[in-house]
């Protein structure tokens, strides 16, 4: 455990905790709105963003943000006008963007990209510029979520009712997709593209049985997520396992524990 003396470990912990704090409350809405697959598609598109960043020499975080925002906008447009079911569209976009990302990265031979670190995260490699982008994303994400909380909840419960009551439903929905894109961009370095959705979904699912109000569920989910990130990082340092997957495993164990505890109470 001597690794706790190193600065990079604390940087990793700070980044992980920050991402957990914004991902968990937003993830509550992903659960309530049944948009897990939507989140998954945005995160798959992140690899296309990484490729874009390599080609244009951008930091991967803003590059992924751009790719996720574009994919989100495309999804919203297609879902309103397409003849296909939305999960078909999501599946097409998720895998074609992921595949396109891999292909583009392979074509750019000048740069060697560690694919594994993007797919499963590399929190210990988070350095200066990344940290600023992540901090910015977390602050903006949390502020926007606080501002959007009530209208977003109203739209989640019943969109038509919210609209009659004066909520700008379309704007709120688009803002939510933008927030998801931000979380995907900041979470990619932590748990990796393939595991981002778990960071969004598992802590809220764990919190569900212990919350009586939406706010309580978001707060408990955030606490669970922070715990999972810290435990995963500790496990990673102790047993030399990859940090991102270790966090997700910790998160899943906490979820199982919550099932046992809530069954015991109920």
């Amino acid at each position: 455990m001597s690794a706790w003396g190193d600065a990079f470990v604390w940087r990793a912990l700070a980044a992980g905790v920050g991402v957990a704090l914004v991902a968990a409350p937003l993830g509550c809405f992903v659960v309530w709105r049944r948009m897990a697959y939507f989140g998954d598609t945005l995160s798959h598109a992140a690899l296309l963003g990484v490729a874009l960043g390599v080609v244009l020499h951008l930091n991967p975080v803003p590059a992924v943000l751009i790719a996720a925002l574009a994919t989100g906008a495309l999804l919203v447009a297609l879902q309103h006008h397409g003849e296909f079911a939305s999960d078909t569209i999501l599946g097409i976009l998720a895998h074609s963007t992921l595949a396109l990302g891999v292909v583009v990265l392979a074509l750019v031979e000048s740069v060697r990209v560690d694919l594994f670190s993007y797919l499963f995260g590399d929190i210990l490699a988070v350095f200066g510029t990344d940290l600023y982008w992540i901090a910015g994303g977390v602050v903006v994400g949390l502020a926007a979520l606080a501002f959007l909380w009530r209208p977003l909840l109203a739209v989640t419960v019943h969109a038509d009712l919210a609209r009659v009551e004066g909520v700008p439903v379309t704007a709120v929905r688009l803002a939510f997709v933008a927030l998801l894109a931000i979380v995907v961009a900041v979470a990619m370095r932590i748990v990796g593209i393939l595991l981002i959705t778990s960071l969004l979904i598992i802590p809220p699912a764990t919190a569900r049985h212990f919350a009586r109000t939406p706010v309580q569920m978001a707060v408990i989910a955030a606490a669970v997520a922070v715990l999972a990130v810290a435990a995963g990082l500790a496990a990673s340092l102790t047993w030399d396992t990859p940090a991102g997957p270790s966090m997700v495993v910790a998160s899943a164990l906490l979820f199982l524990l919550s099932l046992v505890v809530s069954r015991g109470r109920g």
């Binding site: 659960v31 309530w32 019943h158 038509d160 009712l161 009659v164 009551e165 939406p214 569920m217």
Partner: protein, 253 residues
């Protein structure tokens, strides 16, 4: 037909197309202040579509909508499903529609007879309780117009009758207009001032008794003639005992 100047909301020549099919054709409808107007018609006759157009939730392909400026609408949609994963109390649900202190929410619930449910979980409510909660959320908007799309859905027959009486009382107390959607004439007619019978187009309109005698209406609802006779009886009965019934149900809820 109501004078155009005083209508709260009004459609003129509204037509809506769904793919190849016209679900609404050339519909004129208007809700006057303080009246209860009931939209009636078989399934798929365009009732909900007309309501959505009047509420501004859907743009008509032809025709236009006029709403009185500053009109406050309380809306009870047809189907509201709250995700089981969303922990929401009745108080929390009411706060989504209008910010306000608990006391106001409790008063609105009391007005619809379910004040005790303030801290109940939304997912634990019965069909009738859920509809009353929706009604309370609509009332908290201090509406000039209540729009109720099949408000008695998922409520047993006895509860339905009570619910329609409640709507009548709310109109009296609050002096608001009510636009009611129903496919069940028997229960609604007693509580309504005017009926608009819809089947893609406007079949007929007028006072409940006049509509029920209309040949168009009879053609549409012909097989129900026998039941309808039973209904007429109920209608008279309800009007005879109106006052006493009101106080009785107030106590029982």
């Amino acid at each position: 037909m109501t004078n155009a100047d005083e209508a709260l909301v009004e459609s003129r020549g509204v037509s809506v197309r769904l793919g190849e099919r016209w679900v609404l054709e050339d519909v004129d409808a208007a809700v006057a202040p303080g009246e209860i107007l009931t939209l009636i018609g078989p399934n798929g006759s365009g009732k909900t579509t007309l309501v959505r157009v009047l509420l501004g939730l859907q743009r008509p392909d032809r025709g236009r909508i006029r709403r009185r400026s500053g009109l406050r609408i309380g809306y009870v949609p047809q189907r509201v499903h709250v995700e089981p994963t969303l922990p929401l109390t009745v108080a929390g649900f009411l706060a989504l529609g209008s910010r306000g202190e608990r006391e106001r929410a409790r008063e609105a619930l009391a007005e619809v007879g379910v004040a005790r449910l303030l801290d109940a979980r939304v997912q634990h409510l019965s069909g009738g309780e859920f509809q009353r909660m929706l009604l309370a959320r609509a009332l908290l908007r201090e509406p000039d117009l209540l729009v109720l799309d099949e408000p008695a859905q998922g409520v047993d027959v006895g509860g339905q009758r009570e619910l329609y009486r409640l709507i009548g009382r709310l109109r009296e107390r609050r002096q608001c207009a009510v636009l009611l959607v129903s496919h069940d004439l028997h229960l609604v007619m007693a509580a309504t001032d005017r009926v608009l019978c819809l089947n893609g187009h406007v079949c007929c309109r007028g006072a409940p008794a006049a509509v029920s005698a209309d040949p168009e209406y009879r053609r549409l609802f012909g097989p129900l003639d026998r039941e309808f006779a039973v209904y007429t009886h109920g209608h008279d009965h309800h009007h005879d005992v109106d006052g006493s019934v009101v106080s009785h149900t107030d106590q029982s809820t």
